[in-house]
Each structure stands twice: as structure tokens, then as C-alpha cells.
Symmetry: C2
Subunit: 342 residues, 2 copies
Amino acid sequence: MLIVSSDAHRHHHCLELDGAKLIDSWEGPDRADSIDAALLVAGLGPSVEPEPFDRQLVERVHLPDYVDFLSEAWARWVAGGNEAPAAMAFGWPARRFRSIRPRHLNAQLGFYSFAADCSIGAGTWPAAQASAAMADTAARHVAESGQPAFARCRPPGHHAMRDQFGGYCYVNNAAVAAERLIELGAARVAILDVDYHHGNGTQDIFYGRDDVIFCSIHADPLVEFPYFLGHRDETGEGPGEGSNLNLPLPHGTDATAWFEQLDRAALWIKASGAEMLVVSLGVDTFEHDPISRFRLSRSDFTEIGRRIVDLDLPTVLVMEGGYATEELGKNVVEVLSGFSDT
Amino acid sequence: MLIVSSDAHRHHHCLELDGAKLIDSWEGPDRADSIDAALLVAGLGPSVEPEPFDRQLVERVHLPDYVDFLSEAWARWVAGGNEAPAAMAFGWPARRFRSIRPRHLNAQLGFYSFAADCSIGAGTWPAAQASAAMADTAARHVAESGQPAFARCRPPGHHAMRDQFGGYCYVNNAAVAAERLIELGAARVAILDVDYHHGNGTQDIFYGRDDVIFCSIHADPLVEFPYFLGHRDETGEGPGEGSNLNLPLPHGTDATAWFEQLDRAALWIKASGAEMLVVSLGVDTFEHDPISRFRLSRSDFTEIGRRIVDLDLPTVLVMEGGYATEELGKNVVEVLSGFSDT
């Protein structure tokens, strides 16, 4: 299996408002180290660097003004005399506020985000570019070879909306991969999101389209981040009506209940006629994840890999969440090992 | 002039995300101390304690589920094992998210707020109740006597929406005062908001009504908090169409430009036939305010008082912002001195 990875993430550090404390984010460089180390031990590979960042591709899933904002925010923050090591919003266009794009950086930070759980620092945009490029490179490989590939993305991407960052995500890597697969000829691509959290960004990006369909198994937004998207009745709109499937589950969900939903998702994807698959691979469904509340064990990740292989579609796996850092790499390897056997 | 004040605010301390740092809020107990001391020196008074908090009254301007949330949030935060001295949100229903009320406290903190510039601590709800009660008591006095009264509210209120806190505000004290004036017989009440920031909460509460009309002179939301409300084209809706007047001004606005807008506001209020007046009195338009960018001087506040008196309406003055703490009390006294001459 081709592995695409990059060290560009190493200079991306997040501040995170967590429990009314400002902490170094759960989403840190050690996560990627854990995965890289486990891949090496498992002998998975070969590993390649990503092709250059393709802004035109990214602007097919994100608005150009948002991409401009991401690329300029850090320099504007420094120019504004701010001392903190990362730019954060403090006000948002919440319920009944208006969607007019403001001019001031502090205002735009709120306009272009939905959470205070991440920030934009000196290394954020370079890391986000490299992360998107990894997903893109993996997608090209799959389109060309039919063989699976794993993009070891960091930062993750599935919370990134068309024009909003949040949930540790800036550019939606899975969406970038799917868009590339469409460009290279797939008539329909399915994105399967198995991260503990709803892939609100991916849903947002493809909500009105039927060439990229989206299915997410995740913790119920009534009790879990991102809270305000991910409900069962969100099924797509316009040409995309019926192309979005949300399968929310309660806190404490065990493997039996989780795999029932994976089977539903698999049937739905099969029935859709999708020709290629992108997996938003979060392993924060793990029983020992420090910020999540599902109860999957190490061996369940092996089974996830097997069932994805059973879908029998050319597959791009894109790294998303997982915060039990020490065991993160091993859990990822378990999923990928299902593919190594093919 | 009757002064209504209370020490209940003393146990209300805010955490504030400011420049990506978590600080003790600019809106602290020392603000009220500054005002109380200056009132004493100026011999303004008499000073009275507020009547008891009237929840039924407050529920005519805020949704009952929001009032429940405010009253229970701190106990739920502690029960959830949180260690921080105040509850803060970290995710919001931003653009294209849904307005479904979630169940988890962390989610509800975001649902019921729009900013990370304030928090809910042990003393917040008692202080917010006392603050609303001060505005109510001042309003009753004005309704009964026709004489002016000043509610030395803390926390302030004008950013508090029907069901969202933010901008240091929880219960909308000015709205509570206006609602009481209506109840006690005024056919129409005008709220004049001279705080540096747009009174988004007051606008939200009365946007569809014509018995309480709202006019705000404030920094342009394109560059200043609350960023996503306060534009010129927000004029009210339904029966309230034409009952909302926003007069945004750029950073750096001086007294000449500011008073031109106050004259516009005064003409509009006169023409409305309002029988009584509530003033949302922020003095963060002061040239030395540390977080604001208008250029009014000490003597300009005397002039503000005079022009409000010239409106010749029974007037409730409700304290809002002002963060040049040392000079805050003196600036407030300047405004009130215009009334003392009457």
C-alpha cells in the first residue's frame, strides 16, 4: 500500500480552548510521529512525499476568499501586533447573526471558523497545504493504479467547511481527494467517514452534489462536537438530495452497535454505484481515546479494515482524528493491514 | 437622581479569550467600584438597592429555556467535573450550522452564546439577576415619578440576545427596563444605545416590535465586535419594520462626527412619539478606552448628558460598557450631571 507522508506538519501547533483552559491542542505533532513509527515497524509502504499543493483543485472544494484568508491570517496576526503564538477568534456569526464578511482580522477569524478548539500559527498554512497535497497525491495514485493508498494527513480535514475552519481542520483533505478522483474520471465517489466526530465539513462541501456521496458514523451531535451538524435528517439538498447519510450513535457505543452502522453504510455505498472510495479514517472511536466516548478495541480496527476491503472499491484512506497518541499508530496500522493482505 | 446599585456583582468574575490569551476580563468588579466611588464623590443619589429579581418580567424579553440555562449552567459545570473557575463554550452554531438545541452542557454553552469573551462562573447568575433587578427598579421609579434614574448595572446587558450571552452580557438590562415601562403604561419606549459597541442583543429582542424602538450609535461591525450585527440596513421586521436604527461609525471617529449621529438619533426618537427613554449608557467611546477606538473626551460626556435631557422624556439610564476603569466613574458622572441640573 502506498503511504504518502510529509514532515511539514511538524511546525503546526494549535492552541485549544478546552474546559475553559487554553491548552496545547490534543491534535499535536506527536500524533503523526506515532503513526509514522507504527507504519515503519509494520513494514507498510513504500512511503512517498506529496506532489506540490494544487490550489486550483482546493478551490473546487473551498471558496477562494477562504483560501486567501488561511494563507494570509498568520502574517496579518503578526502585523497587527499580536503576541500570542497563534491567531484565534473570539466572536462568531451565531444564531440570527448575519453572514456579511467583515474586514478586521479578529472578525474574519470568527467569520471563517466555528470553534475555539484550534488556531492559526506560523506553521499552520504550510502544514495544511502539505496535508491537502498528501490526500491529493494518494488520490492520484489510486486513480492511476487502482491500488489503495494512505494519506497520513496532519492537520486532519473533515471538519473544514467550504469556508470555515474548526475541529483542528483547515483544508478538507478527504474532499480534496474525492474531487481529484472525480476529475480523473470517476462518475461517482463515496466518502465514508468513520471518525468519532461528524464530518460536518465534508457534508457541507458536497451537500448539493450527487457525484460525491457522503456517509458518516459518529457520536450524536446533541452531545458531541461539532454539535450543530450531523443529525439523521440531513440527507442532502437539490441534486444532492439523498446523497448524504448520517448515522449518529450515543456516547458509550460498543463495537456491536458500531459495526451494525458500518454494515448499513456499506450497503448504502454499494447501492449508490460509487466507483471509488475515500475513507475519512479517524480512530478516535478507540475505547481509550481521551476525548471520545465509543468503545472500539484494537482488534475492531482490524475488522474495520477488512470490511472496507470487502467494499471492493479503489480506496484512498485519509487520516483524520485519534488522540490516544501512544496507541494511535498501532490502531491505524490495524486498519491498513486489511489492505496489505489484498 | 435616583441611583440603583448592588454589591451582588462582586462575585462575578469573567474569563475572556483576548488576543488568543485567556485573561481576567476587562469587565471586572473594579468597574463598578469606579462608578460607585465617583457617584459618592459627586454627591449623586440617593442610592437604593434593587427590588427582587422578577423572572416573569425577564421571560418577556428572554426565552425561558435560556433563563433556565443561565440559572443552572454553573452547577452543571461543577457537576461535570470541570476544574476551571468558569464555564466557557468552544463550539458555536456558525454559518450553515443548525439551530437544534443540543443536550450536553458544552454544546449548550455554544448554543446559548456567540463569543468566547465571557464565561459563567459561580457568581454570574446572582450578579446577572441583581443587574436586571437594578434596571427594573430604576424603570419602576421613572414610571412612577417621571424623574430620571440610573441603574449601575454590572454585568452589562446590551449584547444579550433573546437566548444568547456574549460580550460580557447575560440578561439584557435595558430590555428589561423597557419592558417594565411598557407594562406600566408607556405606549412606546425608545432605547438609545450610546455604547461603543452595537447593542445587538437589544436589537434582537425588539426587532419585530414597534412598541419598543431601538437606536444604536456604534463602531462599524465590519471592524468591531460584535461583528455580525449592527449594519445600517437592519431596520426591523414585520410590525417592527422601521423601528430599528443603526448608525455605525468608523474606527477613529471624533466627537464632531459622533454628535452628528446623536442628533440624527434624537430627531428619530422625537419623530417616533416615544413617551419614555431608556439609555444604554456605555462610555467606552472615551478616547483612552483600552479596547475601543473612538475619540470622545471627558467634556463630551457632559454634552451627551445635556442632549439626552433635551429629549425631554422620562429617562432610565442603564450602565453598559467602559473599560478605562480609573476614569470610568468620572465619565459616567459627567453624563449624569446633565440630569442633576434639571
